[in-house]
């Protein structure tokens, strides 16, 4: 009895193996008819004023069904000047380089809409959309509606968002030079020379200086105008430049938008808000490339994160290239 049971089990087991090992021939999936579309957001990190939010919008239909006529993007808030939809469709060549192929007229923006009209006989394309965040969008939510039309009368659309636009401002690559353009204004997001600083002393929050002092590492420094003279050696400040800004040194905060390096770190509004400046210093010496500085202006109106992109010392000059994100907190 036992033997019969085991034999039946063996047979079933063999049958299962035989059935499961049967080869199924691969066939290319059948494309469903009709115009199709898809979209991805390319840009990462907080959506900041004056910066681009980038999308890639793909649309296609079967060649025998027709060709593409028009691609359009409608933003809930009209983009700033510089907003555009690419008229090139990209593919990646054998060397990994993206090669653009022109498929339509240059995009036309009217109100909230940006349109590309196809002028090539094409049934598939991926267009990139660059939305420059306008002042009107500060602190608001924005949405996008991508749409495509084919010559067979079909049209499709794809909604993206909502995305929150941050309150912060951002500026890249300010260059401060030792003993020349060395007065940094957080409120103006600018660097001034002594004559300019004398005209707006209330706006000067930091002084950049470079000193090579034997025995210590002073080097590149960002110092509040009110700091002790030992941190401003041989510096003669323009009259009334005396703000007491608070600063906190940072390292390993290589914000991707400021550094334009792929660290995957982003400083957001909430990061700047949460920094505790009580008891903070008013000087930061020996600042290095890729280091950072959290700053609060004397009146507490602005807070910022400064990223040091580059420092340079040569025979003719010493300079620091810095980028910053600034948030008005009062």
């Amino acid at each position: 009895m036992k033997n019969i049971f085991f034999n039946i089990c063996k047979l079933i087991f063999l049958a299962v193996i035989i059935v499961s090992c049967e080869e199924t021939e691969y066939s290319i999936p059948e494309l469903k008819p009709g115009l199709k579309n898809d979209c991805i957001k390319h840009s990462l990190g907080p959506n900041v004023l004056g910066q681009n939010i980038e999308f890639a919008y793909a649309m296609a239909l079967k060649p025998e069904e027709g060709i593409l006529l028009k691609a359009e993007v409608e933003a809930s808030i009209a983009g700033a000047e510089g907003t555009y939809l690419e008229n090139k469709s990209y593919y990646t060549n054998g060397s990994g380089i993206n090669v653009g192929v022109e498929v339509g007229e240059a995009s036309v923006s009217s109100g909230n809409k940006t349109t590309v009209t196809f002028n090539k006989d094409t049934c598939a394309a991926t267009l990139r959309y660059f939305y420059k965040v306008p002042e009107e969008a500060r602190g608001k939510m924005i949405t996008f509606k991508f749409s495509a039309t084919a010559n067979n009368g079909e049209s499709v659309s794809y909604e993206m968002g909502p995305y929150k636009v941050r309150e912060m401002d951002m500026i890249l690559d300010l260059v401060a030079t030792n003993e020349e353009a060395c007065y940094i204004s957080i409120s103006d997001m600018a660097v001034y020379n002594a004559a300019e600083a004398a005209e707006k002393p209330d706006n000067i929050d930091l002084v950049y200086l470079y000193r090579a002092i034997p025995g210590i590492s002073f080097n590149h420094a960002l110092v509040s105008p009110s700091a002790e003279s030992q941190y401003l050696p041989e510096v003669v400040l323009p009259s009334n430049v005396n703000n007491k800004s608070k600063v906190i040194k940072a390292w390993n905060v290589q914000d991707q938008q400021l550094a334009r390096l792929h660290y995957g770190v982003f400083v957001d509004d909430s990061d700047i808000e949460q920094i505790d400046f009580s008891n903070a210093a008013d000087f930061a010496i020996n600042m290095k490339k890729e280091s950072g500085l959290w700053v609060e202006t004397e009146d507490g109106k602005y807070r910022a994160y400064i990223f040091i992109n580059k420092v340079k010392v040569d025979d003719s000059s010493e300079e620091m290239t810095l980028s910053l994100k600034r948030l008005q907190v009062k």
Binding site: I216, K249, N279, I285
Partner: protein
């Protein structure tokens, strides 16, 4: 039949015997290693010293110019920090002998700016019977006169 009776007898005693062993294990475990008010094990170790000391700035980088001088007899730690170190916002880090703990606990930034009145921490041994108070002396790097 004998086999079945034997099995039942074994099953009958397995549970009580297991419970007795578990209770014994728990009693022994709790008796040997009591815990202190911080939930840390109180052990038999009486050793009580600082094996290493680190001082970090707000950027979590060291501010020491060289290795700290730790005197376990005099119970002092001498540290020289870089010129321009923000003494009000430093994170001290102590490495202690096994099972020891620090009092008071370090919960965040410490203000070392009052150099005349150096900060003190007490190391408590693993058996919580020995307490040694260490004084941390900070010196700021000076500008070379050469």
């Amino acid at each position: 039949m004998k086999k079945i009776i034997k099995n039942i007898a074994v099953k009958k005693y397995v549970l009580p015997v297991s419970l007795v062993f578990l209770s014994l294990f728990l009693i022994i475990r709790c008796t040997d290693y009591p815990i202190d008010e911080d939930g840390l094990l109180i052990t038999e170790r009486a050793e009580c010293y600082v094996s290493n000391f680190e001082l970090l700035g707000t950027d979590f980088q060291t501010v020491r110019t060289k290795a700290p001088e730790i005197d376990t007899v005099a119970q002092t730690i001498h540290v020289e920090v870089f010129y321009g170190t923000d003494l009000k916002n430093l994170y001290p880090q102590f490495s202690l002998i096994t099972d020891a703990k620090l009092d008071p606990k370090i919960t965040g930034k410490v203000d070392f700016s009052d150099i005349e009145n150096p900060k003190q921490w007490t190391v408590v041994s693993g058996n919580r019977q020995v307490r040694k108070t260490y004084t941390v002396f900070i010196a700021v790097q000076e500008i070379s006169q050469n």
